[in-house]
Symmetry: C2
DNA sequence: CATTTATGTCAGCCATGTTGACTTTTTTCG
DNA sequence: CGAAAAAAGTCAACATGGCTGACATAAATG
C-alpha cells in the first residue's frame, strides 16, 4: 500500500496546485478556493453550513469570507424567512473565477479517467467514497446529490442551452 | 466532475487526519509525518533528496528535521564517500512510530479497495499516476520503484520471515 | 421576557510555508 | 594547489491559515 499512500500525496499536491496558482494572482489562497468552491455548489448556503463542511472555526472562515465579500467575489444577503442568517452567493465576478479552477481541475480528472481505462469513473468514485470515514459517507453523498440536483433545477429554469 | 473534485477533498482530508492524530500526541504535525514517511521509504537518503521530493525550502525542512533528530526519531549520519552529506535514517523509535501511521493508512486504503470492487487496485493506481503532472510522472514512478526494490533487498538480507 | 441561535469581531498563539543573507565543510576541477 | 561549486545549516523576518477565548448584536423561539 506504500505506493498508493505516496501516489495520493503526489496526486493531491498537483491537484490543489492548479487553483492555488490561479488564486495567487488575486492575493488569495487555498482557504479562499474552498469557500468559493462550496458557495458555487450551494448558492444561498448559510455560514453555518459552510462551517460544517469545512470543519474550521468561525474565526478562520470569517477572515477569508470577509476578504471575498469585500473584494466583490461573494455576496452575503440576509435570509428572507430568518433574518439572522447570511446567505452566501457568488457574484458574477466570483462565478467567473470559480469557472476557471473548476475547469482546470475537471480537465485533470477527465484526462486521468481517460488514461486509466474505460468505465473507470464509477470505480474511482466508489473508491473515493470508501476512503471517507464511514460515518461521514452518507452525509457527504447527500450533500453532493443535493448540489447536483440544484444545478439540474437551475439549468431547467434557464433552459437546456443556457448553461 | 464536481462530485469527484469534492470527493477528493473529503477523502484526502480523512486520509491525512489518521497520522495527524497519532503525531499530535508527540507534539508533531503533518510536516513531521512527511519527513518520517519518506525517510522510512528511503533509508540513508540525503537531505537534498528529501527537499526535492517535498518541494519545500531548506529552512522549512530544517525546522522539523531538527526536532525529529533532537527527539531521537531520526538519525543523521555523515556520508562515507562524501562527508558533506547527512544521510537520514529512522531510529528504532522512529520506525515504531512510522509503522503506526503506515498501518492505519494502509488499512483505510485496503478497505476502500475491497469496497470498490475486484481488481480495483490497478485501476486506482493508474488513475492516481495519471492525476500527476505528466512531467513528474516518470520521476515519481521511479522513486516509488526504487523504494520498493530497497524494501525487497532488505527483506532478502534479513530472510523472508524477518519482517 | 428569557433564552437560544446565527453571525461577527478582537486579540493572541501555533504550525508551516516563504525570502534573503551568510557560514562551514568538503569535494571537484582547471 | 587553489578557486569554485556543492551539501548542509542557521539567523531573521514575514505570510497564510489553522486554533482558543471572550464578547457583542440581532433575531427567533418558547
Amino acid at each position: 500500500m506504500l505506493d498508493l499512500i505516496e501516489l495520493l500525496f503526489f496526486a493531491y499536491r498537483n491537484f490543489v496546485s492548479d487553483p492555488d496558482e490561479i488564486l495567487h494572482g488575486f492575493g488569495f489562497g487555498r482557504a479562499h478556493h474552498r469557500v468559493l468552491h462550496f458557495v458555487n455548489r450551494h448558492p444561498g448556503m448559510r455560514v453555518t453550513d459552510l462551517l460544517d463542511i469545512l470543519r474550521i472555526t468561525k474565526q478562520s472562515l470569517g477572515r477569508v469570507l470577509r476578504e471575498l465579500v469585500d473584494q466583490g467575489f461573494i455576496d452575503s444577503r440576509a435570509g428572507a424567512s430568518d433574518r439572522r442568517q447570511r446567505l452566501l452567493y457568488l457574484t458574477p465576478k466570483g462565478e467567473e473565477l470559480t469557472r476557471e479552477f473548476v475547469a482546470i481541475q475537471s480537465r485533470r480528472i477527465q484526462r486521468a479517467l481517460e488514461e486509466s481505462g474505460t468505465d473507470s469513473r464509477d470505480l474511482v468514485r466508489r473508491f473515493l467514497v470508501a476512503m471517507i470515514d464511514p460515518e461521514d459517507r452518507s452525509p457527504t453523498e447527500k450533500l453532493i446529490a443535493r448540489a447536483d440536483q440544484a444545478v439540474e433545477a437551475r439549468s431547467l429554469v434557464r433552459g437546456p442551452t443556457a448553461g
